[in-house]
């Protein structure tokens, strides 16, 4: 697979480390149900067959964490963005 790193350009996926579902957000530890929220965050996954937003880390390149939109059935990649771009605004 080729991952289109927004910084480095298209690179083989072996340069990257995979981290799974990008939609998971680290819960607030201060809430009452934090333990359950963390248990779900840590252990449960949607694991869809089809479009999937997922985290890849460009370990052998620019060391950015990317959100890649990839289809788990076809491996087709719709796009990739730096994860920080979703926070910067």
């Amino acid at each position: 697979m080729r991952i289109p790193c927004p910084h480095c350009g298209s690179r083989g996926h072996e340069e990257f480390a995979y981290y799974g579902d990008a939609s998971l957000v680290r819960p607030d530890p201060a809430t009452a149900d934090a333990e359950q929220a963390f248990a779900e965050f840590v252990y449960l996954r949607d694991n869809p067959a089809g479009p999937h937003r997922e985290l890849w880390y460009h370990a052998q390149g620019c060391q950015s964490w990317l959100v890649v939109e990839r289809d788990t059935l076809t491996h087709e990649i719709r796009g990739a963005a730096d994860v920080r771009s979703r926070a910067s605004t």
Binding site: R2, G12, A17, R26, A34, F41, V42, Y57, D82, A87
Partner: protein, 992 residues
């Protein structure tokens, strides 16, 4: 000029063909000497020499000759070369001839001509598909001892070499706009058209000669012979700077996003690769577009004993005749269901063969032209006759059954587009009933298909679709490409009406030639319910041989379709998988073998350690000094003991550069560190260091290390050697994904700094000699856990950390890597009079166990902080990674195995990591298992073995005795549970 005298090649014609008669090549097959010519394959040279028996089949050991002239060959597998270069299962049809080539037939005993296992044939019916699932079960114990060894010996084909492969292999990357696979007329046209449009073109061809089918036919293109036309195209391609033609290169796999694997046989056509050159090169090709112009493979016909040597694909017979000027037989019967194969009569006749008849079941109104004297029979061949090769055929036709004597049956069931590479990503080809051929289904993005692979079987159509595919690729890449004018080609016919039916016969009629799968086997599979093609494949092993059913699969599908009363289109295919042709494992590994399997990381002081005669050991990617043997020390134990004693009594020096080191800066550096580590870090003052642990988000310990505050907004954190990469990645995740608003910057400085531990009561004295005199190293100025920037006496900038893994009064001194060699030498020079010793990992390990410090064996990902006695570190006042999950009851349960120390009750006994703890007097079964010894070492300080381990409720059981049971090493040692800090439990030495 002297013409070399060339031994007679009985079946070679005096002229013609694409061989170089001025370059005779000697070779050997099964111990007999032969000669061929440059331009031959092993197969064509054997044909030229009249050799017909080339191998034995897998199961029945039936005699087998050549079926094809290409990569699809199922029968003619030989062992090539010898010694450690022996290559089993090499297809003679693609082995390029070279002078001195040695080949032997395989899977026969004692000889190819007389093979005892041919008796298997007599048992034929009992050996039908799946028989072993139904037998060999009684008595049960016989399977491993009797049946299986017997089956294994009988199975298998060639023999593997016994020593390491002596040749070298390479990998390389290639990038292009357009990859064209196959240099037949379609591929050549596509490559040229795309190149003219300015695309970067890579044309890969597995043959050593470009041209594809044109080389095997007598067709004229643009008024010249096919090979000459090819020559012109290749010359133009060679003149273009944006084209790279790669011959002897098979594209074997098509992977996601335009990535292709290809294997270049750089030196398989010479006896031994020249110096500095690899045998083969693996290419990873990244192509923006691809045109598949891989041609087509001819289908065999099904009739009784169709596997006899001398029964050959018609296109192969023409190829041997036209390209290699060799006749595969003298009396020929052509059996075909299509017009294309009728050419065989003329082509072979032109070389002097006697063509008896063309047998074709189609009631033809228009018959292709035949040379005079060749009879056209509307009918079928029912059976081939012969012993070790074909002598005659039985023909049913024109109302009767006749026997025609012949020594070659050139058969053709039409052509099957080679769509493997279009199918590797899961799309299956679609059966086109009207044209009786597979058509590409959905193809991978960016791929176009041209020529015979696209079902465009006439040369004219192949040229046209090649050009179209190139134009489409160029257009997709935003280039303008003109449709090139197409050359004149003499008319040809691809008319075809497939003959699937098989004459009823009790004799064997082969579908998969190599795996000996017959029509009866496929039918039996259907009868037993294995009707889906995938099940039938697995039950009969059809299509699972080295050729992957290239010639067998379609016939099998047709049989299954007939069995189910379905059209072929509804039956489906089996799955196409890489590699398209078998690829040597060494080539896929490339240079990554032996010592170069993975890189070796060396510390900056490695050269010094080598000079000291250090014994090294692997620590992840690093090589580290294990101990420094000196004269008179018979084993590591003595060396280690000396090193520890020197350290504990005077001073020891150890290279600890392999620790991960990360420089963390920024206004939020403090906050970031605080959230990463489980213990409080906010209060860490500038100039001080603190031990810290990081958890995973699930609450288990990730790693430990020290955090040093170098400045208000600058920290240096260290990680264990093993986890350096993982921790850095974890920190990036935390920063970029969880807390992107923190203003913190960090970077690895692991390679920038070398670091030496200087430990022992005289460590300060030793440091005094290398650190510039104006630095105050007193306890007051530099207390335990202090950090200072210093200069060495030679001016080098260094960092001094008063930290200790050994439990001694100790320091770690960090110097820029290029100063490491000088620094360690200076330390050891000055250390001599102080009684200093260099120590290695053995001593380091022993001292940390003496001190009760955890390391990799304890930080194994299965332990919580609580298990390791570090529970008190977990902050309750802040959020940090793992905070919430670490609180779960299951992780803090006092009944969990927890860290304690162990000493043998009989102090002379030795301990070993991995022993399990059971109660004294227990039998030693699962219920008794109470934990295990994580680490063990001989303690020079205490004079006996000690260990660390995880024991259920351990800390509550100090003083108890348990047994350390090491069943796999046959040891049973009674041990006393103790405090894990064996030496200086109160830390007086550290602070002194």
């Amino acid at each position: 000029m002297t013409v070399p005298t060339v031994p007679h090649q009985s079946a070679r014609s005096a002229a013609g063909g694409l061989i170089d008669r001025s370059r005779p090549l000697r070779f050997r097959f099964d111990g007999r000497d032969f000669t061929g010519f440059a331009g031959d394959t092993l197969a064509s040279a054997l044909v030229a020499n009249g050799v017909r028996l080339l191998g034995r089949s897998f199961k029945y050991h039936r005699p087998r000759g050549l079926l094809s002239a290409g990569p699809e060959e199922p029968n003619a597998l030989v062992e090539l070369r010898g010694g450690d270069r022996r290559e089993p299962n090499t297809r003679a049809t693609v082995a390029e001839l070279f002078d001195g080539l040695e080949a032997t037939s395989q899977n026969r005993w004692p000889s190819l001509g007389f093979d005892l296992l041919a008796v298997n044939r007599l048992l034929g019916p009992a050996f039908a598909a799946g028989f072993y699932y139904k037998t060999f079960m009684w008595p049960a114990s016989f399977w491993e001892r009797v049946y299986e060894p017997m089956i294994r010996r009988a199975a298998g084909l060639g023999r593997i070499a016994t020593g390491p492969d002596p040749d070298s292999y390479e990998k390389a990357f290639a990038f292009c706009d357009l990859l064209v696979v196959g240099a037949g007329p379609a591929g050549l046209t596509a490559a040229l058209a795309a190149a003219r449009a300015g695309l970067r073109v890579l044309l890969a061809e597995e043959d050593f000669r470009p041209g594809g089918r044109l080389l095997g036919e007598t067709r004229r293109v643009d008024g010249v012979g096919g090979a000459d036309w090819v020559g012109r195209q290749v010359a133009e391609l060679a003149s273009l700077p944006n084209v790279r033609v790669m011959l002897r290169t098979s594209v074997f796999g098509s992977y996601d996003h335009g990535t292709f694997g290809a294997i270049e046989r750089v030196n398989d056509h010479v006896p031994v690769p020249p110096p500095f050159e690899p045998r083969q090169r693996l290419w990873r090709i990244v192509a923006r577009r691809c045109v598949l112009a891989t041609g087509a493979i001819e289908r065999p016909l099904l009739f009784a004993d169709n596997d006899l040597p001398g029964v050959m694909l018609a296109g192969a017979a023409r190829c041997y005749a036209n390209r290699f000027a060799a006749l595969a037989g003298r009396r020929v019967v052509v059996f075909a269901d299509n017009d294309d194969a009728w050419r065989t009569a003329g082509d072979l006749g032109a070389l002097g063969a006697e063509v008896v008849a063309v047998v074709d079941p189609r009631p033809l109104t228009h018959r292709p032209a035949l040379p005079a004297g060749v009879e056209a029979i509307t009918g079928t061949v029912r059976r081939a006759l012969g012993g070790r090769s074909v002598r005659a055929v039985e023909v049913v036709g024109n109302g009767d059954v006749r026997r025609l004597d012949c020594d070659l049956v050139a058969m053709s069931g039409g052509w099957m587009p080679t769509l493997h590479l279009a199918s590797h990503q899961g799309a299956r080809p679609r059966w086109d009933e009207g044209r009786a051929r597979f058509a590409p289904g959905s193809v991978p993005p960016g791929m176009g298909i041209a020529g015979a692979a696209n079902g465009d079987f006439t040369t004219r159509a192949a040229l046209a679709s090649g050009a179209e595919a190139a134009v489409a690729a160029a257009t997709a890449l935003g280039r303008r490409a003109g449709q090139p004018p197409l050359p004149e080609v003499e008319p040809e016919s691809d008319a075809h009406a497939p003959l699937w039916a098989v004459p009823a016969s009790r004799r064997k009629c082969f579908v998969d030639f190599q795996n000996d799968v017959t029509v009866a086997d496929v039918e039996l599979a259907g009868r037993e319910g294995f009707r889906s093609p995938e099940l039938a494949k697995r039950y009969t092993t059809l299509g699972m041989a080295t050729d992957q059913g290239k010639t067998a699969n379609l016939n099998a599908l047709a049989l299954l379709a007939a069995d189910r009363g379905q059209p072929i289109a509804a039956t489906g295919t089996t799955t196409y998988r890489p590699p398209y042709v078998p690829v040597a494992i060494a080539a896929l590994a490339g240079p990554h073998r032996g010592p170069d399997f993975r890189p070796t990381r060396l510390t900056a002081a490695h050269g010094w350690a080598v000079e000291q005669g250090a014994v090294f050991m692997e620590a992840g990617a690093w090589l580290r000094a294990q101990y420094f043997p000196q004269a008179g020390e018979p084993s590591w134990l003595e060396s280690m003991t000396r090193e520890v004693n020197a350290t504990r009594r005077a001073v020891g020096v150890c290279d600890v550069s392999t620790l991960g080191k990360i420089d963390v800066q920024g206004p939020d550096a403090c906050e970031f560190i605080e959230r990463l580590y489980a213990n409080g870090m906010r209060t860490l003052a500038v100039g001080r260091a603190r031990y810290g642990i990081m958890l995973r988000e699930d609450g288990m310990v990730l790693d430990d290390g020290t955090v040093s505050r170098l400045a208000e907004q600058r920290y240096l954190v260290t990680t264990t050697t093993a986890n350096a990469v993982a921790v850095f990645q974890h920190m990036q995740l935390c920063h970029q994904v969880h807390w992107p608003t923190l203003d913190v910057q960090f970077v690895s400085v692991s390679d920038q700094w070398a670091q030496f531990s200087v430990a022992g009561p005289r460590s300060r004295d030793l440091l005094r000699t290398v650190v510039a005199p104006d630095h105050d190293l007193s306890n007051e100025a530099l207390p335990f856990m202090a950090v200072a920037a210093v200069r060495l006496v030679d001016g080098t900038r260094a960092r001094l950390f008063r930290i200790s893994f050994s439990g001694e009064h100790a320091y770690e001194i960090a110097v820029p890597a290029r100063a490491a060699d000088g620094c360690i030498r200076a330390l050891m020079r000055a250390g001599g009079p102080l009684g200093a010793a260099a120590y290695g990992l053995e001593a380091l390990g022993a001292m940390r166990i003496e001190k009760g410090h955890v390391a990799g064996n304890e930080l194994n990902g299965q332990t919580s902080a609580h298990d390791l006695g570090l529970g008190r570190l977990l902050s309750t006042k802040k959020d940090y990674i793992g905070a919430v999950m670490a609180r779960r009851g299951a992780l803090t349960d006092p009944a969990r195995p927890r860290l304690v120390g162990f000493a043998p009750v009989d102090r002379s006994q030795r301990l070993g990591a991995g022993a399990h703890f059971v109660p004294v007097g227990a039998a030693g079964n699962a219920a008794d298992d109470q934990g295990f010894m994580t680490s063990a070492a001989y303690s020079p300080t205490l004079g006996h073995w000690i260990g660390l381990g995880l024991l259920a409720r351990g800390p509550e059981r100090i003083g108890e005795r348990v047994v350390a049971l090491d069943l796999v090493r046959n040891r049973r040692v009674e041990v006393e549970v103790c405090n894990p800090a064996f030496v200086d439990p109160n830390g007086d030495r550290l602070r002194g």
